[in-house]
């Protein structure tokens, strides 16, 4: 059991976080990105019906159901780390989107610490992060760098 953040070490695992992306979440985040604003003079490529908001559009592109924008999985990864180490600063986050995430399908987010450095009292952790489905497949994987100050 970890007593304090300063004790987090290589090999420690991020507690698995359950996450179910749904249509409302997609809509709110797309709105933040300006994708839902059809009043813009230049519409974004994702304005109007698309694979995230319209089933027929998703099916036309070969998806059985509505999918989730890939970068929202990154947001969930960041969130899982922030819940584990709340007073930290994530300076880098990268992710490869291998397979789509499906709306209303629960996944879990996990990770492991792969490196730990201490300099001037500041701890820098590197983590491998992943999203795992019920069938064990990992549609997204990435890494993060997190700094914990004294």
């Amino acid at each position: 059991m970890i007593i304090s953040y300063s004790e987090i070490d290589v090999g420690d695992e991020l507690p698995l976080m359950k996450w179910t992306p749904n249509a409302n979440m997609v809509k709110v985040l797309m709105n933040l990105s300006g994708w839902m604003d059809e009043s813009e003079t230049t519409l974004s490529p994702m304005s109007g019906p698309n694979r995230f908001t319209d089933l027929a559009s998703a099916q036309k592109e070969g998806f059985a159901k509505l999918i989730v924008p890939g970068n929202y999985g990154m947001m969930a990864m960041a969130s899982a780390v922030e819940k584990w180490i709340p007073k930290s600063f994530m300076s880098k986050l990268d992710c490869v989107f291998r397979q789509p995430l499906i709306q209303d399908v629960e996944v879990q987010i996990g990770g492991v610490v792969t490196d730990r450095q201490v300099e001037d009292g500041e701890i820098t952790l590197e983590l491998d992060l992943y999203i795992v489905r019920d069938d064990g497949q990992r549609p997204q994987g990435g890494t993060a760098i997190v700094r914990i100050s004294k």
Partner: protein, 151 residues
Amino acid sequence: MTEKPNITYNEQMLNVEQEAGSVVFTEEIISDYGNAIGHPQDKSGVQGKIEVPIGVLNAFFNRSVQKGANVELEGATVGLNAGRSVEMFEKIFIGDKLNRSAIFKEVYTKTGRSGTMAFEVWEILFKDSSGKLMARATDSMVYRAPGKAGG
């Protein structure tokens, strides 16, 4: 023998930095993000300043600022995000206003069993009013025929 993929794009746009407006990181943005992602954000802050999490930046690194590359790969009708890397060089706080720009960096192809895919790579930058680089995303889109993996 491998056939050369039939791909076109606007080479004149390569490495051109395009301004893409500014973003003010408001408390409302942070709240909307936190509530949507299922992790309401801590509003206590440090010395009265509330940090903007890296995930929020991610919402503003998006396709709407990636204009003019005009990548066309024969047979590819679907464009999906293939991957992304986000770096924050400095902490960003609620109330900060940052200028956004986008640079079309490269196009390359990969051919496998399922055919050829084209990858379009962009950098999206956030700078403060003095021009200091605060954050950068490297974003990769893949173009392919419908019905294959991607996100």
